[in-house]
Symmetry: C2
Subunit: 79 residues, 2 copies
């Protein structure tokens, strides 16, 4: 089954990539963009068919490799 | 209102970052990971309050700056 891990910088953590995107959008004439946060999304195709086990495996992967939990939070969705 | 733009490499486009993550997961002992695709997610806080206009603005931003539509596809969700 498919798992999607979304990784975002934690609130309060500086996000220079998001800031740069915000400035670039402003430069292109887009107004009314208050805040931009840039994160990652990783889609995993897992052999596991049990949703609970797939969720647990994806969370374990996120904690151990995909996310830096000091500065990033993650969320796992199954599809 | 909040808009989330999810950007993924198109099917058939090589995804070296995803491949690298797949190999690293295997190296950590995670088995049963068939495919990994790595993409970006950009959260925008928009001043616009009309959902249709916010959706259109976010799609325009994605087309003009956030995504490289030659090799990436994008999806906008409002929250």
């Amino acid at each position: 089954m498919k798992a999607r891990v979304t990784i975002m910088p934690k609130n309060g953590v500086l996000d220079p990539q998001g800031k740069a995107i915000g400035h670039a959008l402003e430069g292109l004439g887009f107004s009314g963009v208050a805040e931009v946060r840039a994160g990652k999304v990783i889609e995993l195709e897992l052999a596991e068919t049990d949703p609970a086990k797939a969720q647990a495996a994806a969370e374990d992967m996120a904690r151990r490799l995909l996310a830096n939990t000091v500065i990033e939070s993650f969320r796992v969705e199954l599809a």
